[in-house]
């Protein structure tokens, strides 16, 4: 028997078995592909392409390079560190005229301004009076604004002259280009992104943990309670889903603020004095409390769906084999809920990382997370910066995902 399997097998009509199998499967695969094709197209259109665009925008911005061809040429011809000569100023003047004609000074200025503040108004101002520029251009331009002599301005234009740039990522890492083109950290007062990335991940981690601790017993209860009671409890769990985010957040404010319900109750019970009112909102505590509430269902549901299908006979078997109830929980029940824990935690963590309305409203001074800054840049149409920050956030989440896969295994994930 062993010899037969070792030899090359053929079908009844003499074709190699492997080829026949491959052909049979490829037909099935083609049909399966046709079935998923609409979804695939949908995902590509609504997810893959936008993400690709986002990544593209994070290091591509041709606002300046496309509108200042003469300067681009001059920067190409002269290496970094060259002092701008009359040719450079002539190129500048020519580009300013172009910008005035095409109304592109704002766009170009915006790009340079990302690298160096206050250059936008310099460029728009200069472009406005570009008609009257005449040689010698250096004097003429300096007459409009003497900052045109500033090497920092020229360095900023040089790094904007290429459509592809890592500047946005530099900014997202609290770094900048020095006047000589080298990379340095920004002044201490301006460092914010790295700190916020760190804080965002830390806070999301805490929220995930709190959610897990709160959700586990609830999910267990839901899974073991008789249907009618479980349904009622489930409605309570899902209630946050059915309430608008702002209503929910406002009710938390009413409850938690200094003059709020919780403090009033504690006060009337004599637990705290009037000047000892607890600060539970407009700080990190508030963010954690409210986001835990908002995200709790995302932890409970996967846990519940996993727990519901764990038959009670496993725990009984463990007990009959001599395990105490704690050992049974730790060695038998917990490992089997791991897919739910993993799915719930990943879900809550990823959602927490991207949340910005709640922390903005209840987080006070501490409440800014990285997503608030992404939102800020979006609102100011600085898509490149928003994209760079988002890309880094995405990378961070992917790293965590990878870690998760290494530690627990992604096949151990059950979302419902």
């Amino acid at each position: 028997m062993a010899d037969v399997t070792a030899a090359l097998l053929t079908t009844a009509d003499g074709r190699p078995l492997k080829a026949a199998l491959a052909e049979a499967q490829s037909r099935a695969r083609r049909r399966a592909f046709l079935l998923v094709a609409p979804l695939l197209a949908f995902v590509v259109l609504t997810f893959i392409i936008p993400i690709g665009q986002m990544l593209d925008r994070s290091f591509h911005h041709d606002g300046f390079s496309a509108n200042a061809p003469n300067l681009v040429e001059w920067f190409d011809a002269n290496p970094e560190g060259t002092v701008p000569d009359e040719a450079a100023f002539a190129a500048l003047a020519a580009d300013m005229k172009l910008m005035k004609e095409n109304k592109t000074a704002g766009e170009a200025g915006t790009r340079v301004n990302y690298t160096l503040a206050e250059t936008r108004s310099l460029i728009t101002k200069t472009a406005r009076g570009a008609d009257k520029l005449a040689p010698p251009f250096k004097e003429a331009l300096l007459a409009i604004d003497d900052r045109w002599d500033d090497p920092a301005v020229w360095q900023a234009m040089r790094s904007s002259a290429s459509a592809y740039t890592a500047d946005f990522y530099l900014s997202a890492l609290d770094m900048e280009r020095a006047e000589d083109g080298s990379i340095q950290r920004v002044e201490e007062q301006g460092r914010i992104y790295v700190y916020l990335f760190f804080k965002t991940f830390l806070l999301s981690g805490i929220i995930t943990l709190v959610c897990l601790l709160l959700a586990f017993p609830v999910a267990h209860l839901l899974a073991t309670l008789p249907m009618a009671k479980a349904n009622l409890l489930m409605i309570l769990v899902l209630l946050p889903f059915w309430t608008s985010l702002l209503v929910r957040t406002t009710s938390w404010i009413v409850l938690l603020q200094g003059e709020g319900v919780v403090n009033d109750i504690l006060l009337s019970l004599g637990f705290i004095g009037d000047d000892g009112r607890l600060k539970m909102i407009y700080n990190q505590t508030g963010t954690i409390i409210v986001m835990t509430h908002v995200l709790l269902p995302f932890m409970i549901l996967p846990l519940y769906s996993v727990m519901r299908v764990i038959p009670p006979s496993y725990a009984r078997a463990a007990r009959s084999l001599g395990a105490t109830s704690w050992t049974t929980f730790r060695r038998i029940y917990l490992p089997q809920t791991l897919p739910g824990i993993g799915a719930g935690s990943l879900l809550v963590f990823i959602l927490a990382v991207g949340y910005f309305i709640t922390p903005a409203l209840v987080g006070g001074a501490d409440g800014q997370l990285i997503s608030n800054l992404i939102d800020f840049h979006m609102r100011n149409s600085n898509w490149s910066m928003a994209a760079a920050l988002s890309a880094m956030l995405l990378a961070g989440v992917l790293v965590l995902y990878w870690l998760y896969d290494r530690l627990i295994g992604i096949d151990n994930l059950k979302l419902g």
């Binding site: 084999l321 001599g322 038998i332 089997q336």
Partner: protein, 367 residues
């Protein structure tokens, strides 16, 4: 094996009652002594309370009333993990996140056993069920029969004195089930353990058990060795539940020398052995096994009463013929005759006379 008395019994159910909802009793006044080393089977229709009894013994349900003793000690207050009872579940309950080896290791680990000792025991238990090569597989990678063996090995690996099995073979096909019945029986004999076994397959119960407790409606209807149960059912439920059975209603005409004469409602007279009847004029239900009915008069005692029958259908079953007759107004009277050389084969429509030895017909419950 003789019935154990209350004193030397290994497991005792003493007036045990169980109610889940406070309005109805699922187990009604259960009294049962199980001897050391005995193989006792609880047999009964679905919902009759077998699993409930097992769960009370294992400690997962508490008796609403009454006492359960294990080895002379009351165990109502002992938590399940301290009872030292091995258990095989209906769905095996093998831990899916552990390999076979880890599953077997679990009860030994929680008992704080050292690694080398554990491994020796695991190997022995696996060899016992011929699964020595599968220690590193996960339960999901095993067939149903293999999982069943592992569940058995796991219940035995920590040397429990008592093993409970709740329909362990329910999910297996007929052939495998018969094979496993043999293996379980074999293990029981070689290890000398006490087994309480639940099934609703009477064949299984008959082949494996020392004694069978027939459950119905929360009560033990009869507790007896398999042969007694089949040959001498105490009541019509048992007679009906164990094996095939023909029933005829009538009135006792006469009781003499341990023999009863019963006049059927249609007028014929038949022979019977009085079981639950003692007086003339009592109504009764007579139960006769199909294979004990004879239609060749020459094989019957001379004084046997014969009654008329009409052949309705003859079914060929290989080793025997199953013939359905119309007798005393019933058209579901069955007889079985062996397919021997020269056996006379009946044809539908044929009119015959049938009869039986008086000890083969049992006049049971008064009706």
């Amino acid at each position: 094996m003789a019935a154990a008395s209350h004193n030397d019994a290994f497991v005792v159910f003493d007036h045990v009652q169980k109610s889940y909802d406070g309005t109805s009793l699922v187990v009604k006044d259960l009294n049962l002594n199980i001897g050391k080393g005995e193989f006792l089977t609880m047999l009964g229709p679905s919902g009759s309370g077998k699993t409930t009894c097992l769960m009370m013994l294992a400690g997962f349900e508490t008796a609403t009333n009454g006492e359960i003793l294990l080895d002379g000690r009351p165990i109502n207050q002992v938590p399940p993990h301290k009872r030292g009872i091995g258990m095989v579940f209906q769905n095996y309950a093998l831990f899916p996140h552990m390999t076979v080896g880890e599953n077997l290791s679990f009860p030994l680990e929680v008992r704080g056993m050292g690694k080398s000792e554990r491994e020796a025991k695991i190997m022995r238990a696996l060899d016992m069920v011929q699964m020595g090569k599968f220690a590193n597989r996960r339960p999901a990678q095993l067939s149903g029969g293999q999982q069943q063996r592992i569940a058995l090995a796991r219940a035995l690996v920590f040397d429990p004195k008592l093993v409970l099995m709740d329909e362990p073979l329910g999910a297996l096909d007929k052939q495998l089930r018969e094979h496993m019945q043999f293996e379980i029986k074999h293990l029981h004999e070689s290890l000398g353990i006490t087994v309480v076994y639940v099934t609703h397959d009477q064949g299984e119960a008959l082949t494996m058990s020392d004694r069978i407790a027939v459950f119905n409606d929360g009560r033990i209807q009869q507790l007896a060795p398999p042969a007694d149960l089949y040959e001498r059912p105490d009541n019509s439920f048992v007679a009906q539940f164990i094996g095939e059975n023909n029933r005829l209603e009538g009135t006792v005409e006469e009781i003499k020398d341990g023999r009863a004469l019963v006049r059927l409602n249609t007028g014929e007279l038949i022979d019977a052995t009085p079981v639950n009847v003692s007086n003339k004029g009592q109504k009764t239900l007579v139960s006769i096994r199909p294979e004990r009915v004879e239609f060749k008069a020459e094989l019957l005692p001379a004084d046997a009463h014969l009654i008329e029958a009409e052949v309705i259908e003859v079914i060929y079953m290989g080793d025997l013929f199953r013939t359905v007759l119309k007798v005393a107004g019933h058209d579901d009277f069955v007889i079985k005759s062996r397919n021997t050389l020269g056996q006379r084969v009946l044809t539908p429509g044929e009119k015959i006379k049938i009869g039986w030895a008086p000890q083969d017909a049992r006049a049971l419950d008064p009706v």
